[in-house]
Amino acid sequence: MTGRSAFHIRRSTLNVRCLPAFGGARGDQGSMFKLLRLKLRLNLHIMFKFIHAADIHLDSPLHKLDYYEGAPKDEIRQATRRAFNNLVQTAIAEAVSFILIAGDLYDGDWKDYNTGLYLVSQMSKLRQAGISVYMVAGNHDAASKITKTLRLPENVHVFPSNKPATHTLDRLKVAIHGQSFATPAIKKDLSLVYPTPLPGYFNTGVLHTCASGREGHEPYAPCTVEGLRSKGYDYWALGHVHQYEILSHDPWIVFSGNIQGRHVRETGPKGCVLVTVDDRGCPEIEFKPLDVIRWEIVTVDSNGAESGYTVMDRFCNRLETLLDENEDWPLVVRVLIQGETPAHRDLLANIDRWSNEIRAAALDTSGHRVWVEKIKFHTRLPSSEKDLRTRDGAMGELVKLLDEFAEKPDLLRELSDELIDLEKKIPKELKQGPDRIRFDDTKWLKSLLAQVRPMLIQGLMKKEDAQ
């Protein structure tokens, strides 16, 4: 967004478009233009800043981190709270005029009222700094029990859920439009009935929406970029999608993403959008990271690595690059080792050992700032070195059997019989969600089988002195 001319064009087209709506109520076209020109000449806007954030999910924990000696446990404690604290601090430090929160303050099924009280304490800090907060309830908030009883300080304004509403800040000439979710699953386009923009005001819309649909996010309150653009607002603060994304530059239509990644599907920097509106009413935006620990996926290419140690070296190099890219931010990493390597057998026959090596290397390289969440070995032997071609003798029998299991889904499923006792006992969390364990899933069983193969062959063939 540069300069006066762009703004001029947009303003005038907007007003021309809006004129018939106002014509009857406010007088003729000529007087409208006069008013607009007067305002522009007198430069009636004053510069201000605000923050757009969303999807706070307060007190939602980081998912399924396996603790090990030396893992940076302090870095993950109360991550969402500390990230929210960063939001409050940033707002105060930047001296913003107000904050827009586009839904999902809480996790829907989280019942602890303390979370609400903590929120109140933070909002009070903002009140003391003279910053007001405008927010809509998202699908999670609609499901939350905390929302129902919590009394928020007077600087916090929650939009109603039965119809859209508008708050105006007359000193800054700002109009904020929004509507909350009444129930967790809203399937209609809420933006359709948002109010028409107030002329002469900086109009922003706060909306919790899946936009035109985003993978991994429930399809709630769908809307289109065109639809939003046609509203004629100056800024759309969207929430619900956890990834920072700019849907449009003119006007700005932005997903701020969530403020703290909580699992491996929420990688990269997380934070809020700082919007600076200059004295001509032109907004500039800047992404501000707020997260206290960041999720990343480290893919290690093991192609041609002679031994596990080479793979380790490559992992360390990748990690160093990643740490540099993230300016030594604390990280949670998922490690994917893939490719064709002669070390495949050693890696898989000693998964425990190599996992520990990777964790130790990560601690060393990062100075205890990296938590290795999980290590996935997706390696293969190079085609020139396929294992055990013989199909005769006892070992041949074993290899044949392994091949049979790998090829026949029925046999694979039979393997899950071994796990029935365990399946009955494991907690529901492991059986839910996109990365759940399904004991009868042939894909899962097949991947285990691929790991069992070297375990057995190495285990049987191992000789201490053999080179």
Partner: protein
């Protein structure tokens, strides 16, 4: 595959070590190495050869990584040979024999038949540790059949261990009923944490309830506090009045008393104390004055008694000086005595020396004898030169006879040795012949091998059918090429196939045709199916009838014959009408049937059509069969024709293909033998040539000609001995000659030295004569004499010098003593005439003593003077103080209005009383002020007097009770407010619940990984067990059968074999069987040694079973017999010998006795020995 040659080119301690392994059929190779290091390196090299040298190999101590090489030539079962070199590196490590061209690993893999590195080590290798571990595993596993069979078939000695490990690791993670297992524990913790989390979570309503209760309590507390304040005020008023009443009464009493003392003087604070202090001080001062006076008098008396000599004190400095000087004088006197003694000793010694040199001189004239330093040096130098010249002459003279003698000796030796012979041609001949000497052995071996192979070939040729001829004819036989035969085979098969299939088709069509005819017959037999023609006929008959009846009805005439004919034609009728009726019924019947039996009619029609078409097909096939049979005959004729040149009556192409293949192999063998024979013949010719040339050389040297049976190698050895002997002789002569020349040179030099030295000596004598004159010596005096005189002179002058120094010091001491005595006598005259007679030393001491006494007295006088002054000043002070005190006491009397000091105490008492009453009144007023709560005292007193004292207690107790009630209520409210605030305080936005949720996630993270690991272990366990069971089902029988034989053999018959039994749980187990078959020994009952042997038997059985169906792979044995006694070791060696019929056996050992056992007990044609040395 077997290894023909194993080359350790650069690896471990080895450089270019070649082990030839091509001997024997497959070969039982025993590789004996002295030290274990070399043996293990060779073993490793063998494994690395096939599968690459590991990245971090430790065998680079001699050859760096870049240079490491292992090579081999191997041969597959089909006879293909591969020669290759393995280098160390990451890729392209396999090269052809020239170490240049890269070879694909896949090529080598074909020879290895898919056996990878691990399997090679485990199935085709066994060492002592494996054996022991394997034996132990059998015992631990109680002979479990599955385990035993699988271990035998895979070579693993770790099976049971792995099974146990998988099981115990899985159990370590999870069991359905466990609590302490990792997964169980984590699940327990998670569910526990969930409970704690539920408790930690704060419901919103709870917070609201507490907030409301707090606000309510705060409001209530405010009203209670207002009420309480009111009651307290009333209560307080009554309490004040009650307290004030006695005070008012007391005040009245005190006012009355005051009147008595109103006139008394009010003395200031501390008046009495001041008075008492002053009186006391007065007494002290008077006392002080009297004491000072007494002291003054005593001191004055003491002073007057003191006496002091002033003249001594005036001269004190001089006295102290001479006292100090006296000390050094005393010491010097002692020193002088010593010095005199030493001087006289020195003079005595000097005199002694002088007398030794010259009788005529005294010490005073000794100076005449002093010589200059330059002269002394010259004499010493001449002395040294003399020694040198004399020594040189002597040495040279002694050397001459020795050298002459030695030269004579060398001449004698040379004469004895004689001259050397010319041997260069012989050397030359040997260098050419040597190469063939080495080949001679090879020639013998090759010749015998050719003979044996030729024999084998002839036998094979004899067995060959269809053709008989000589080996020579074999190669030239014009046999059609294999391709041609195969072509014929294919064509023949095709033709045959064509005939057969045509015939088959023909038969089939015949069968179908028969079937169709049968069906037609069937239809016919069921009931003749009416046809359209039948209906046509019936209708015609009906028409004919009508044409007869119609005229009849119309009354027209009809011929009787026609009617008769018609009736007859219809049949079964007597009249025309009956016949017509019959014909109408028949036509209808047919029409009805045609309609009713339309299916059958159609079927019949189809069958008839089929029959026609099948007939056509049959005819076509018949023709084709004829054509095919003719073609086949032609083919047979052609077949016969191509075999005619070889004059062979061929059999079927398939048979002839096998025959031709055999023939080809035989022809190839014949060619190979022919070529080898030619090579051998050439070799023999070369050997003979060299034999001859060597013999000629020997003849020239007059050495004996070679004898019968002497080989070329022997001859070469003999020639080399001749050369060595000749070379030794030659060297000896040369050495002696050179020694002789050297000695001669030395002799001439010695003679020259004698002459020159003698000249030098005569020159010296002249110089010497002049030099020793000043010493009083003549020319004959030797240098030693001159030196002795010079030394004495040195000593003499040294002593005289020392004596002179001592003399000077004594003189100085005497002079000092005289000066001191004069000083002392002067002083005595001045200060102490009475000491005049005393010697200077004693006088000095006495003067010093007197001076000390005088000084002590002077110091005492000063002290006394000071004390006296002090006492006088003390007295003056006391007198002054007394006057001052008396003045002040008089002032006090005036203040109190008294005449005398003694009246002062009474005045003081009255003053005190007045003050006391006034103070009490003040206190009472103060108290009343306090109680009046702001009113004046008089108002308050008036007010109090209005209240009836008897009502007060009642009012107070009523109000007290009321306030207490209110207080209790307030305190309860305070408590409630406190507790509500505490509750709300606890709800401070704490992150406790959130942290518990985090904890749960941490546990879930760990759990997820553990679940996967558990799943892997369980799956691994299941698959392993299935594989074991499958392999057992498949291989138990053949492996047990072989094991039985081998076990019997290896245990030397102490077991008859093994067999399967069932244990208590019904599982099959392996047991040993004693001879006779009745006694069964469970594996747990076997000794460790027997278990080892059982394991060995099983391994060999497993291996043999594998080799039955697969390409052989060499079996590498690493010293497994070290713990076997000799009998069992022999049995095991024989078992390995047996195995070597199936595959190459390479047995590494570093025990010589095992090598010897093998030598004695293994067939010499099978056993091939190798010695491994670095």
């Amino acid at each position: 595959m077997r290894i023909l040659e194993f080359r350790i080119i650069a690896y471990g301690p080895f450089t270019d070590k070649v082990i030839e392994l091509s001997g024997g059929k497959q070969g039982f190779h025993v590789i004996y190495g002295l030290n274990e290091a070399g043996k293990s390196s060779a073993l490793r090299a063998l494994r690395n050869l096939f599968y690459g040298i590991p990245e971090r190999s430790t065998d680079d101590f001699l050859h760096p990584y870049g240079k490491m090489r292992i090579g081999a030539a191997i041969q597959s079962g089909k006879g293909d040979v591969l020669e290759f070199v393995r280098r160390k590196g990451r890729r392209n490590t396999l090269r052809s024999g020239d170490d240049k061209t890269v070879i694909e690993e896949s090529l080598l893999n074909k020879f290895l038949n898919g056996v990878d590195a691990d399997l090679f080590v485990s199935l085709f290798g066994i060492d002592h540790a494996d054996l022991v571990r394997g034996g132990k595993e059998i015992i631990r596993g109680a002979g479990s059949m599955g385990q035993v069979i699988f271990a035998a078939g895979s070579g693993t000695s770790n099976l049971r261990g792995l099974q146990e490990q998988l099981k115990s690791q899985a159990n370590g993670f999870f069991t359905p009923t466990g609590r302490k297992k990792k997964i169980n524990e984590a699940i327990g913790k998670i569910s526990n944490n969930r409970k704690v989390l539920r408790d930690a979570q704060l419901p919103g309503q709870q917070w609201a309830a507490h907030d409301q209760a707090l606000n309510h309590a705060l409001a209530h507390k405010q009203t209670v506090e207002t009420d309480l304040a009111k009651k307290r005020r009333a209560l307080h008023r009554f309490e004040r009045i009650q307290e004030a009443l006695p005070v008012i009464a007391k005040r009245k009493e005190r006012l009355n008393e005051f009147r008595t003392y109103a006139t008394a003087v009010r003395l200031p604070q501390g008046f009495r104390d001041q008075r008492v202090d002053l009186s006391q001080e007065l007494r002290v001062s008077e006392n002080d004055r009297d004491q000072a006076r007494n002291s003054t008098e005593a001191l004055q008396k003491e002073l007057s008694e003191l006496q002091i000599s002033e003249s001594l004190l005036e001269n004190s400095t001089v006295i102290e000086e001479i006292h100090r000087e006296f000390g050094s004088q005393h010491k010097a006197a002692g020193d002088r005595i010593q010095l005199e003694t030493r001087m006289s000793v020195l003079l005595g010694e000097a005199g002694e020396i002088l007398r030794g040199l010259r009788d005529d001189l005294t010490l005073d004239h000794a100076e005449k004898l002093r010589i200059k330093k330059s002269e002394a040096a010259r004499i010493q130098d001449l002395g040294t030169r003399f020694e040198r010249i004399v020594t040189r002459i002597q040495t040279a003279r002694e050397a001459i006879p020795t050298l002459t003698h030695r030269i004579a000796g060398i001449d004698r030796k040379l004469e004895k040795l004689g001259t050397a012979r010319q041997i260069d041609p012989l050397k030359h001949a040997i260098s050419r012949a040597e190469e063939y000497g080495a080949l001679e052995k090879h020639y013998g071996k090759e010749r015998s091998e050719i003979r044996s192979e030729l024999k084998t070939l002839e036998v094979a040729l004899g067995k060959q059918t269809l053709w008989s001829g000589s080996v020579e004819q074999l190669e030239g036989l014009p046999v059609p090429s294999l391709e041609t035969i195969i072509l014929f085979e294919d064509q023949n098969a095709e033709a045959e196939f064509k005939c057969v299939s045509l015939k088959k088709d023909f038969e089939k069509i015949e069968r179908t045709l028969a079937d169709v005819e049968r069906q037609i017959d069937e239809l016919r037999l069921q009931q003749e199916v009416p046809s359209e023609q039948d209906l046509q006929k019936a209708r015609e008959r009906r028409g004919r009838g009508w044409r007869l009846i119609s005229p009849t009805l119309e009354g027209k005439p009809v011929l009787d014959e026609e009617i008769h004919d018609y009736i007859k034609g219809v049949g079964d009728s007597k009249t025309l009408s009956a016949a017509f009726e019959n014909s109408v019924r028949k036509a209808d019947e047919i029409a009805d049937r045609l309609r009713r039996e339309a299916d059958r009619v159609a079927a019949k029609a189809k069958l008839l059509a089929d029959q026609t078409s099948h007939n056509k097909e049959r005819d076509r096939l018949k023709t084709e069969i004829d054509v095919a049979e003719k073609a086949q005959e032609k083919l047979v004729k052609e077949w016969m024709r191509i075999w005619q040149p070889a004059e062979i009556m061929p059999r079927s192409p398939k048979e002839m293909r096998a025959w031709a293949q055999d023939h080809k192999a035989l022809a190839a063998k014949a060619k190979e033998i022919r070529e080898r024979q030619a090579k051998v013949d050439r070799l023999k010719d070369e050997i003979d040539v060299h034999f001859k040339s060597l013999n000629q050389c020997l003849k020239k040297l007059l050495e004996p000609h070679s004898t019968e049976g002497e080989t070329l190698a022997d001859l070469i050895q003999r020639c080399k001995r001749v050369i060595r002997a000749e070379e030794v002789l030659h060297n000896n002569i040369k050495q002696l000659q050179s020694e002789k020349a050297q000695r001669k040179q030395e002799l001439a030099e010695a003679q020259a030295r004698v002459d020159s030295s003698e000249q030098e000596l005569s020159q010296w004598q002249k110089e010497w004569e002049q030099a020793v004159l000043p010493l009083g010596l003549d020319v004959d005096a030797v240098p030693a004499q001159a030196n002795a005189v010079m030394e004495d002179l040195n000593t003499l002058f040294g002593k005289l010098k020392d004596a002179n120094i001592l003399q000077k010091r004594i003189h100085g001491i005497n002079r000092d003593a005289d000066e001191f005595a004069v000083k002392v006598s002067g002083l005595v005259d001045t200060v102490a005439g009475d000491l005049k007679e005393l010697p200077a030393g004693d006088a000095t001491l006495e003067l010093n003593r007197r001076l000390t006494l005088a000084r002590t007295a002077q110091s005492q006088r000063q002290t006394l003077g000071k004390q006296l002054a002090q006492e006088q000043s003390r007295m003056d002070k006391a007198v002054g103080r007394i006057a001052e005190i008396e003045t002040r006491l008089k002032g006090m009397c005036e203040e109190a209005g008294c005449e005398r000091y003694e009246d002062l105490p009474e005045a003081e008492r009255k003053s005190e009383k007045r003050k006391q009453i006034e103070a009490e009144l003040n206190t009472l007023d103060e108290r009343l002020h306090q109680l009046s709560a702001g009113a004046t005292i008089d108002d308050f007193i008036n007010q109090a007097l209005t209240v009836d004292p008897d009502d007060i207690d009642g009012e107070i107790s009523r109000l007290t009770a009321e306030t207490e009630t209110l207080n209790r209520e307030k305190s309860e409210l305070d408590q409630r407010i406190g507790s509500e605030r505490t509750e709300l305080g606890k709800m401070d936005g704490s992150a406790r619940a959130a942290e518990l949720a985090e904890e749960i996630q941490l546990l879930l993270g760990g759990l997820e990984n553990d679940v996967e690991q558990y799943a892997r272990l369980k799956i691994a366990s299941k698959i392993l067990n299935q594989a074991i069971e499958r392999y057992r089902n498949k291989s138990q029988e053949p492996i047990l059968k072989r094991t039985t034989e081998l076990f019997k053999q290896i245990t030397g018959g102490s077991f008859q074999g093994v067999r399967a039994e069932f244990d208590d749980t019904g599982q099959p187990v392996l047991v040993g069987v004693r001879p006779g078959g009745k006694e069964i020994v469970p594996v747990e009952g076997m000794s460790d040694g027997t278990a080892d042997q059982l394991y060995l038997a099983l391994r060999l059985a497993g291996l043999q079973d594998y080799l039955e169906r697969n390409e052989p792979i060499p079996f590498i044995v690493d010293d497994i017999l070290i713990k076997f006694d000799d009998d069992r070791a022999v049995a095991a060696l024989r078992a390995l010998e047996g195995l070597s019929e199936q595959t190459q056996v390479i047995f590494f050992t570093h025990h010589r006795h095992l090598l010897e056992l093998a030598r004695k007990n293994v067939d010499a044609s099978v056993l091939i020995e190798h010695t491994l040395n670095v």
